[in-house]
């Protein structure tokens, strides 16, 4: 892979004191009387794949929304890259290096794959609107640079054949891939994936797993993902946090979590 794709951050190897990229401490979030999250704490280490699982309505997506600044928890602290975070908007989160994809694909349907991915570069564009209006000189150089980066992503995700296709015409599995591409275009430090394999068939899931692992290995990108397919979660994640009714009920390696009685109960159901 070309050097331009490789992130500058070194891949953390020391097992003794893994660097924490993001810490969530005692976060509580309620909507009126509904408690979406109560007193949840966990952390995400640099360069790991961290899965957030739990039954429907457990608060997984709410958690992601808190992390990228879309929701503001009533209590608790979120620390990203060592900095405690005040009230922030998604825009600030994006500026700090957090990218995400959505459970229901949120692409610009009428735009091509390439253009959608290019929108992920918005925050990296420096020339003003005025320059881009003329599309000459520095603005052109900038565009070429960004286009090059997007082509790297297109190559990486193997979507060359749909480069110029409006995404609205694409099947769901490919749209998901384009969305991942747009998130990658931001060169994020932390990538949040909300159910990246939902609604995919086995083959598409396998492809997606390979892309997620490759992103993690090749660029050292830290990934937090929500996923319902347990096989996928157990296979690709380094650590798993389990939520149920807004509470954290387990946290650890896939094997630990699998053996945890409370997790088994939450998924299989027990009589109360």
């Amino acid at each position: 892979m070309n050097e331009t794709m490789v992130q500058s951050q070194p891949v953390v190897a020391s097992a003794s004191a893994p660097e924490k990229l993001l810490t969530v401490e005692n976060v509580t979030l309620s909507f009126g009387g509904v408690r979406a999250l109560s007193d949840v704490s966990f952390d995400i280490r640099k360069s790991e794949i961290r899965a957030i699982i739990g039954p429907n309505g457990a608060g997984k997506t709410s958690m992601l929304n808190c992390i990228n600044g879309f929701y503001h928890p009533q209590a608790g602290r979120i620390t990203f890259k060592g900095k405690m975070r005040q009230r922030m908007r998604p825009y600030d989160a994006a500026l700090q290096g957090i990218a995400r994809t959505f459970q229901n694909v949120a692409l610009f349907k009428g735009m091509t794959t390439l253009d959608n991915i290019l929108t992920g570069r918005t925050l990296k564009m420096h020339r003003s609107f005025f320059w881009h209006l003329f599309r000459h000189g520095p603005a052109m150089n900038e565009e070429i640079e960004h286009r090059k980066y997007c082509e790297e992503i297109i190559d990486f995700l193997e979507i060359e054949h749909i480069r110029k296709t409006p995404v609205g015409r694409l099947p769901y599995g490919l749209q998901k891939r384009v969305e991942l591409g747009r998130a990658l275009a931001m060169q994020p430090d932390l990538l949040l994936l909300d159910e990246p394999m939902a609604g995919m068939n086995l083959e598409e899931k396998e492809d997606m797993c390979r892309f997620i692992l490759d992103v993690n290995r090749q660029f050292g990108t830290t990934i937090a993902l929500i996923e319902h397919d347990m096989g996928v979660v157990m296979d690709i994640s380094d650590r798993v946090v389990v939520l149920e009714y807004g509470h954290k009920i387990a946290d650890g390696s896939p094997d630990e979590v699998k053996a945890d009685q409370r997790v088994i109960d939450a998924y299989l159901g027990v009589s109360h």
């Binding site: 193997e158 054949h161 086995l202």
Partner: protein
């Protein structure tokens, strides 16, 4: 044949591909030799650069201990670097063995083991994984070289090497010491035309695939003949999208480009070939009939969705083209007003259509591999596309016959190719001798002897006849032609092809040898029938559901009836009309062994696998249960079962022989 080089046999200084490459680097060093679309941009290498890279790669292979006569497997899609690997192996006197990239791990391992391959040059992680999975079976394989690094970073690099790394190291070695490069250049001279230049595995239509060994001189002689025949020069350009392991790619792209010095462009990936073709605008083009067929299906489907005005214009001018187009292309006499009308069509319809299909610059296009429907064939020719047929075989290094410009017919494959000698044996089998003829099958002396006659002709295994004008017509595989109980001639492929000319029918398998009537199993074409279903508000969840739909059966019954009508008009074939048919619940697939990798049906295997259905076709029942094992793309297996309906077909009365009319 008019050109001066006609019949010129390759001289010793140009009797191997590396020697040709060196000649091209000297004669036309700055002309483009290969292109590849990378990161959305076409990258071009001129002949000098290709020669340079091939030498470097040869140095890399030498460093891994490759010797004269060693076998090097090449596995992957069309990439300049893999073509360099072929030539680099030839430079060292090693024998490249291209393998189909979509072969499953066990098939790949079979070829690599059978060919005694010591080094494999592969495209990417997918292929490396297959080799790792099968490594217990491959003790002879010493090194694996990969082109794309992606996903391979954490692999054990003890015996795994990056192609880019080898090129880099070789360049450093060349820079350090000029004698290193000279030593590799000497290897070029050490090669002789009689050496084995390449080993191509047959597709295995009739059993396990065999390694066909071809010499450099034979290959180059054959390619020079046809390059002259079609006036190919270094101004031509082709899109190399055919599988590397297929004789067609090695001949049409690799061999002819080295001989004529033209440029071959490699598509970005398999799925973009059509778009890339449009960008490159090849002047020489080859596609099997099924590609032309699916292109036409797509055009027709999209025309159905076009506005009334466009649709009207399209149908009007296609009608004009059908009437005059072929005559104009063949240089026949055509009234002026018709020429003008056609010219208007060229501006409004044909030109834009050819542009969309990437056919704008094509001078010569070939199709081969199976029979092409005369309607389909004339459609493209009437648009002004110089589409021709050839008949060939891996054993011949492709060409046995090919059609001359201006003397083209849909129902024959043309007169013998230059310097090819053809005869029809007493049993109707076509036999030939040709310049590019193979030396032997690798490690299969008995099979080689079986494939040759005592006086040195190669048996094609195809039954054919020469028509009065000296054009060869292929009827079927000689072994497949059979008889019904009542003695009527049964040529399964002939019937299957007639069925497959309908866009709704993708695949057909006919049975009848030694039986009292002909029955067929069909696959519907999901694109065409799916589109019809969409238009008619018919919902379906899967191929299986659509295939079993009653209305789909009705449509197909209509097609079968028209085939019967056509058969009834041909005295020899009239006895073999289709009495019963069914639509299979799954698509025939090469992964399940039902098709060869070149997508030909394996009739015997299918008869065995679907034995209950075959029984039902002949015992008069109206439906039958079947359950079959299927292989998914990841290699896992599963079972699917279904109840398949069987219909009786309308049989046409046999009419007395009438005047044959052109379609």
């Amino acid at each position: 044949m008019t050109a001066s080089t006609a019949g010129a046999r390759s001289a010793p200084e140009a009797d191997t591909f590396p020697k040709l490459l060196r000649r091209n680097a000297r004669l036309r060093g700055a002309r483009p030799a290969m292109r590849f679309k990378d990161r959305g941009i076409w990258q071009t290498w001129d002949w000098a650069a290709v020669y340079d890279n091939v030498l470097r790669l040869a140095q890399g292979l030498k460093g891994l201990g490759v010797n004269r006569g060693d076998k090097i497997a090449i596995v992957g899609a069309n990439r300049p670097r893999l073509y360099w690997a072929i030539c680099a192996a030839q430079t060292l006197g090693a024998v490249p063995v291209p393998v189909y990239a979509d072969a499953v791990a066990t098939e790949l391992a079979h070829v690599i083991d059978n060919a005694d391959v010591v080094v494999a040059v592969v495209q990417d992680q997918e292929q490396v994984d297959k080799l790792i999975e099968q490594r217990a079976r491959l003790p002879k394989l010493r090194h694996v070289i990969y082109d794309e690094e992606r996903g391979l970073r954490d692999y054990d690099h003890g015996r795994l090497h990056a192609l880019a790394g080898l090129l880099e190291a070789a360049q450093q070695a060349f820079d350090r010491d000029a004698t290193v490069r000279a030593a590799i250049e000497n290897e070029v001279d050490a090669g002789a035309g009689a050496d084995i230049s390449i080993m191509l595995y047959t597709s295995g239509t009739t059993g396990r695939s065999k390694g066909v060994m071809l010499t450099g001189k034979g290959s180059i002689d054959a390619a020079s003949d046809t390059a002259t025949f079609d006036n190919l020069t270094d101004r031509d350009e082709t899109l190399a999208y055919l599988p590397l392991a297929w004789v067609g790619d090695h001949y049409l792209n690799y061999a002819q480009s080295f001989v004529a010095g033209f440029c071959m462009a490699c598509p970005e990936n398999g799925e973009t070939a059509q778009q890339d073709s449009r960008e490159i605008g090849p002047t020489f083009y080859f596609a099997p009939p099924r590609v032309f067929e699916s292109l036409l299906t797509r055009v027709m489907i999209r025309m159905e969705d076009a506005s009334a005005l466009k649709r009207g214009l399209f149908h009007h001018f296609i009608g004009v083209a059908r009437q005059w187009g072929e005559k104009i292309l063949n240089g026949e006499k055509v009234p002026l007003w018709a020429r003008l009308h056609y010219g208007l069509g060229e501006i409004l319809i044909y030109g834009p259509l050819k542009n969309v299909l990437g056919f704008s610059r094509i001078r010569v296009a070939y199709t081969a591999g199976e029979a092409i429907g005369s309607d389909l064939f004339s459609f493209y020719r009437s648009l002004g596309l110089n589409l021709k047929q050839l008949y060939g075989q891996t054993e011949a290094f492709l060409y046995v016959t090919c059609q001359k410009d201006g003397d083209i017919r849909a129902d024959s494959v043309g007169p013998p190719a230059p310097n090819v000698d053809i005869r029809i044996a007493e049993n109707g089998e076509v036999q030939f001798r040709s310049p590019g003829m193979f030396v032997a099958y690798y490690k299969e002396a008995a099979k080689t002897a079986e494939a040759m006659t005592d006086d040195g002709y190669v048996k094609t295994g195809d039954a054919g006849i020469f028509d009065p004008d000296g054009h060869l017509r292929i009827i079927d595989r000689a072994a497949d032609v059979g008889k019904l109980v009542d003695g009527a001639l049964f040529a399964p492929k002939y019937i299957e092809n007639k069925l497959k000319f309908f866009p709704n029918i993708k695949e057909a398998v006919a049975f009848g040898d030694g039986r009292d009537h002909v029955s067929v199993m069909l696959n519907i074409d999901l694109t065409a029938v799916g589109n019809w279903a969409e238009r008619n508000n018919i919902s379906y969840g899967s191929y299986q559901e659509l295939a079993g739909h009653k209305q789909v059966y009705d449509i197909i019954a209509g097609h079968v009836a028209s085939v019967n009508e056509a058969l009834a008009k041909e005295p020899i074939m009239a006895g073999a009309q289709i009495r019963r048919f069914l639509i299979l619940h799954k698509e025939l697939d090469a992964d399940d062994g039902e098709l060869t990798r070149t997508q030909k049906v394996r009739r015997g295997f299918i008869a065995e696998r679907y034995a209950p259905l075959v029984t039902a076709l002949y015992d008069g029942s109206q439906e039958a249960d079947i359950s079959t094992e299927v292989t998914f793309e990841d290699g896992r297996k599963g079972m699917i079962s279904a109840r398949v309906a069987i219909r009786d077909a309308a049989v046409a009365p046999v009419s007395p022989p009438t005047e044959r009319r052109a379609a």
